[in-house]
Symmetry: C2
Subunit: 320 residues, 2 copies
């Protein structure tokens, strides 16, 4: 393990991933306070939402503006950018390339493309478009814990020859243990020596911060986090923890504590995320949290044993 944590950069995903909790219902004041807090804390990037197109995503009309970022709107929200750069995520098949301005005319600095392993080629096509328009780019391969080694090695070959700047290790199900993270970081470094790496961890087993630290020690540069861990289901690595513990003089935790006190603690009383037993169960079973999210929205939300039995019983009978 190398110890080059001083080269790490933090990508705060509170608005983008947290929006999956509250349908992006963040006020402009909330987002502005977050931006100022992150900027003052020294956080390197703020992922302020998705840059997907509402034309390509049905039934999302009720979502807040951070789901379909608009450059003119962003200029009103953040009239004066500080040190903290802005990032947006796009999904394969949901982005309209005509929406993407050249970087010189945009508020955004970084565009990240999320994809499953079978869509790496499509993702890299998108990456090339964004790259050619001047953006920093990443490819975020989701659900790595469900990817077979041969698929991964094939993908590495394509990625190594592509224009993408940063390749992300994404623990979508929060099922990776520290030893798994070490294994994946070494695998990515071995096969992608010419690429920088990133990590996006989930907290189903309370391992998001630990896995992020371990990735950083292994040479991973871009570290995803969100304030108070806000993110879908069990949530993410906590920005306050990574800001406090990364050995760099450029970070200071106090502004993040201020954001938590003023906005996140009241929000957590209305919205739910974090370590909850159904999410722990999907984590240990290495599967998508959607069944646990449905459970938490039902009257049976604390029926842990019944839920566990349902997910671990192979002889499921489909009723006619």
């Amino acid at each position: 393990m190398t110890a080059n944590k001083k080269h790490c950069k933090i990508v705060d995903c509170t608005i983008r991933d947290g929006g999956l909790v509250n349908n992006w219902d963040f006020s402009v004041e909330f987002v502005q306070h977050l931006y100022n807090s992150l900027n003052e804390a020294g956080v390197d990037y703020m992922e302020i939402g998705y840059k997907n197109s509402p034309k390509l995503l049905q039934g999302a009309e009720a979502a807040g503006p951070w789901r379909f970022l608009d450059d003119d709107f962003l200029k009103e929200v953040i009239p004066q950018k500080g040190h903290t750069k802005l990032s947006a995520l796009v999904d394969i098949g949901r982005v309209d390339e005509n929406d993407i301005l050249p970087r010189s005319e945009s508020m955004l600095d970084l565009i990240r493309v999320a994809c499953y392993i079978q869509d790496v080629d499509k993702a890299l096509e998108l990456v090339k478009t964004f790259h050619d328009r001047g953006y920093e780019t990443t490819i975020n391969i989701m659900a790595l814990s469900n990817v077979m080694e041969n698929q991964l090695l094939d993908a590495f070959k394509t990625i190594a020859e592509s224009t993408v700047d940063v390749v992300y290790i994404v623990d979508s199900y929060g099922s990776l243990k520290p030893s798994d993270m070490t294994y994946l970081v070494n695998k990515f470094r071995e096969h992608l020596p010419n690429k920088r790496l990133g990590v996006h961890a989930h907290n189903n087993m309370q391992l998001a911060f630990a896995n992020t630290l371990i990735a950083a020690e292994g040479g991973v540069e871009l570290l995803d986090a969100s304030v108070y861990g806000m993110g879908r289901a069990a949530g993410n690595c906590n920005t306050e923890l990574i800001v406090a513990e990364l050995p760099s003089t450029k970070y200071t935790v106090r502004p993040v504590l201020d954001m938590i006190e003023k906005y996140m603690i009241p929000l957590r009383e209305k919205e739910e995320w974090g370590y909850l037993i159904p999410y722990m169960i999907t984590g240990i079973l290495d599967e998508h949290p959607r069944s646990a999210m449905a459970l938490r929205n039902s009257a049976d939300k604390d029926k842990a044993v019944q839920f566990y039995d349902r997910l671990t019983t192979p002889e499921v009978v489909v009723k006619p």
Copy 2:
């Protein structure tokens, strides 16, 4: 790192450490259900309380019976012991040796002695008494993150020559990072080659489970945990996580989930423990959580910034 996690044993501390949260106000039914759940789950030890003497601890009259364990009472609570052994913790200066029966007449199998580094000699005297009466023994050196290397090396010499079976690495303030845990485990293994090791982690930075896994990978055998993480302040490594993830066929998580559903979730609605910002702050500052516990008991319990400023301001003026 060795990978001898198959030799690990789990020590559930829910009653003993969790008692620090609710003044040991657990019903007999609660403790019986916990014992049966742990036994069914394959957990190796249940630490059922403190074996201190009420004569040596003033102001503790209101505490529940698990604070001052009595052998006759224990026999009523657990008339039939299963696979799971019983453990008790004692503190230096608070235990009356006359209270300790020979193991053959006691319900207890393991007695653990907690101490700070300066009391290692006194702790080992107690250990010898328990050892001579037939018990398994451990010494749990608290607050290791505040111990200087020379003190530790001195203590190792005495410990290596003692009768103690297991030596614990205790992260009292929840301030150790995975790299710190790896460092300590290696240090303990190097200087105590003839002793088995244990780990007791706290969750102030959400690292208790990760640090416990890392210690296990490093050869540590006894792993402390508590159900739903219940323990003082930020709490402990979660028993449900370690039971689910330790690679051994002897453990099964379902009975622990049952305990959580029936008892721990309702209890957590009345009592508070776990990852809360004041505990995170004492964790990152590497200090005892008592100031954070006082804050959580006050009207200012969510005033994170003010609390952080108070702990990080050196020029504290003591009023006349």
